[in-house]
């Protein structure tokens, strides 16, 4: 088996606060293979974005990686000195943020921002970097790139700006792209274009993509595998069609049940009762147990560990007690 592009093992991220240390990410492990798109879903505050930021080494203090390891193509990157990590950012890991309207520096031409990034990472002349920037803008679908390269960010629409942001993220041909809610701030019609663009880039360049979103529709369209996060842990991870069609974890079931269908079946959308716990008050045992309809005594005392179920992996006591056949 070839080495995964990204391998995260037992990651723990903590935030020191006045009321003690809060654990935002607790024991998260996953891999992303070359060319694979891993979708990460969950409610706000589940730790999706923090996971992405810790991979690229941009967690702001007081947050810090408290345990576990992150490997990029075998190289351990979670404990690199800042200068070496900086060289990896933008070169080997590209990142796309949620809001394209605020991701670009308003005072610089988009071309200058791309050229600056290219020349930070690649040993190219000004002219060569500019040519590459034009090619990149063309690749992400910006019409007349040789003209638009001299435009300022405010002269681009939201969707076009997100394309520029993507061009910036891929300008040094990274092995991994972390896209943090890349479509949330965009119109639905533009969302589809951006999604297919990210998908195409992943396919064409064999880039691994970690796609963080709360939109199951986006995940279903884009991802190969999906990780469902809840309160800083991965509740379930597996191939996207399995998790969408046959979710195992009660929380994943709830999430899938909450997606409206166009088929027009006249049934109420399922709601998950309650809300996600605050980091300062994560329940004992399984963090989902107060909201879970199937919770039993063990869930309130013992934390479930991930259990393999076919291609999926689920952290739920229900599957520890039940025989494998009846769960399917």
């Amino acid at each position: 088996m070839t080495e995964p592009v990204l391998s995260v093992r037992n990651l723990q991220v903590e935030f020191a606060s006045r009321r003690g240390t809060l654990r935002a990410i607790d024991d998260v492990s996953f891999d992303i293979a070359k060319g694979e798109v891993l979708g990460v879903v969950g409610e706000s505050g589940a730790g999706k974005s923090v996971t992405g930021l810790s991979v690229i080494g941009l967690i702001d203090p007081p947050g810090r990686i408290a345990g576990g390891e992150i490997r990029l193509a075998g190289l351990r990157i979670d404990n690199l000195p800042p200068e070496q990590m900086r060289r990896i950012r933008g070169k080997r890991i590209g990142m796309i943020f949620q809001d394209p309207l605020t991701s670009l520096n308003p005072l610089y031409r988009v071309g200058d921002q791309i050229v600056e990034t290219i020349r930070t990472h690649l040993n190219l002349s000004e002219q060569a970097a500019r040519r590459r920037a034009i090619d990149l803008l063309a690749e992400v679908g910006i019409p007349a790139p040789e003209k638009r390269i001299d435009g300022y960010p405010h002269e681009f629409s939201g969707g076009m700006r997100q394309r520029v942001v993507i061009a910036l993220a891929i300008c040094a041909a990274p092995e991994l792209i972390i896209a943090d809610e890349p479509t949330t701030a965009l119109d639905v019609s533009v969302q589809a274009q951006i999604i297919s663009l990210i998908k195409r880039l992943g396919r064409d360049h064999g880039t691994a993509v970690m796609l963080v979103t709360h939109d199951m529709g986006v995940i279903a369209e884009t991802s190969d595998r999906v990780a469902v996060m809840y309160a800083g842990r991965i509740a379930e991870i597996g191939p996207v069609q399995d998790v969408v069609r046959n979710p195992l974890h009660p929380y994943a079931k709830g999430l899938m049940g909450a997606i409206p269908t166009l088929a027009g079946e006249d049934k109420r959308l399922v709601q998950i009762p309650g809300s996600m716990p605050r980091l300062s008050a994560i329940p004992h045992g399984c963090s989902f147990n107060p909201r879970c309809a199937f919770a039993f005594d063990r869930c309130r005392v013992e934390r479930p560990e991930p259990l393999p179920r076919g291609a999926q992996s689920v952290a739920c006591h229900l599957y520890d007690t039940m025989p494998a056949e009846s769960a399917a």
């Binding site: 950012r89 990142m95 991701s103 005072l107 930070t120 910036l168 993220a169």
Partner: protein
């Protein structure tokens, strides 16, 4: 862009007109100017002649029109105390004030920006905290006190710097400069610091606050995610975004620097327009006071205009909206 500039220029003229009315009314309300010129035992007939020769018996609108027309040509009448044209007096004093104001502003900008950037980037260091504490002193201590303290320390106790005057000056045409002689430069140090200290602390606090704000923005986070060097992020991306409000404040403050130089010039007996004004106030020399008022407001209005235009140079977003509006 041209239309924008023209529109601002017209607004500026409106402001100047209003100031002109105020300056003119000083003549009407600050006592009878004839009394300031003649002595107590001048006869009523002689007073009437003086009144007529100065045009003071004409109707008020006529006087105002004449005053305004003269002021537009920089003729502000004759000083009561010096018996010289006010414009000549002002021109003679202006280089001293401008030199002082420019030095003070440069001092304020250079140290204000450096200290502001430092205390934003190294927020928790002792030096940054010291800067914050010192800036409080600079903001709260009155200018004359700072000037007197500096004189006490560097002129009286240590004897390093002169306590008053401009030192030797060199004439360059009508302009006199103290920048070319050693004594002139030495004389410039303390007044510049005194005059610029408030502006420096203001700029420092502004740069620090803006810089901290900018460092939190998404595009700085994205710049970090792009792997740019810390240097490029701080000084290329963050500082440039910080400078827009700094230009405004520094520009607008330049007007107050000139206006506030009255105090500094008095403390250091600096032979500039401010000192001239203070003497004029003491002697109720209304032509000088009115002319000074007009000059200062002209400077303020011009600076505002320049700052507005400078904005569009720094910020491309303004450039295009301005372009679209015109």
């Amino acid at each position: 862009m041209l239309a924008f500039t023209l529109r601002r220029a017209v607004q500026a003229l409106g402001v100047m007109f209003a100031v002109g009315i105020i300056a003119f009314s000083m003549f009407r309300f600050a006592g009878d100017p004839v009394n300031q010129i003649v002595s107590i035992d001048t006869s009523a007939a002689e007073r009437a002649i003086v009144r007529k020769s100065l045009g003071l018996d004409d109707p008020v609108p006529v006087q105002f029109a004449r005053y305004f027309a003269d002021a537009a040509q920089f003729k502000f009448g004759v000083s009561y105390q010096f018996r010289q044209p006010v414009s000549a007096l002002l021109m003679e004093r202006m280089p001293a004030t401008l030199e002082l104001a420019i030095c003070a502003t440069v001092f304020a900008m250079v140290f204000g920006i450096l200290m502001g950037v430092y205390s934003a980037l190294k927020r928790d260091t002792v030096l940054a905290k010291l800067f914050q504490a010192v800036s409080l002193v600079g903001i709260s201590l009155p200018t004359f006190l700072i000037g007197i303290l500096l004189i006490y320390l560097f002129a009286v106790t240590l004897g390093w710097l002169p306590s008053f005057g401009r030192g030797e000056v060199v004439k360059l045409g009508w302009w006199t400069t103290g920048l070319l002689t050693l004594s002139g430069l030495k004389a410039l140090i303390m007044p510049s610091i005194t005059l610029g200290l408030f502006q420096m602390t203001l700029i420092m606090r502004l740069v620090r606050a803006e810089m901290l704000e900018v460092l939190r923005t998404d595009y700085i986070r994205f710049a970090r995610a792009r792997g740019l060097t810390t240097r490029a992020i701080h000084f290329g991306h963050a500082l440039k975004n910080t400078l827009i409000p700094v230009i405004t404040v520094a520009g607008l403050q330049f007007g107050s620097v000139i206006a506030f130089s009255i105090i500094t010039e008095t403390v250091f007996q600096w032979p500039g327009m401010g000192l001239l004004f203070v003497q004029a106030v003491q002697n109720v020399d209304i032509p000088i006071m009115a002319a000074y008022l007009l000059m200062v407001s002209l400077i303020f209005v011009t600076i505002n205009l320049v700052v507005d235009i400078l904005y569009t140079v720094v910020d491309p977003r303004l450039r295009s909206t301005v372009g679209r509006a015109s």
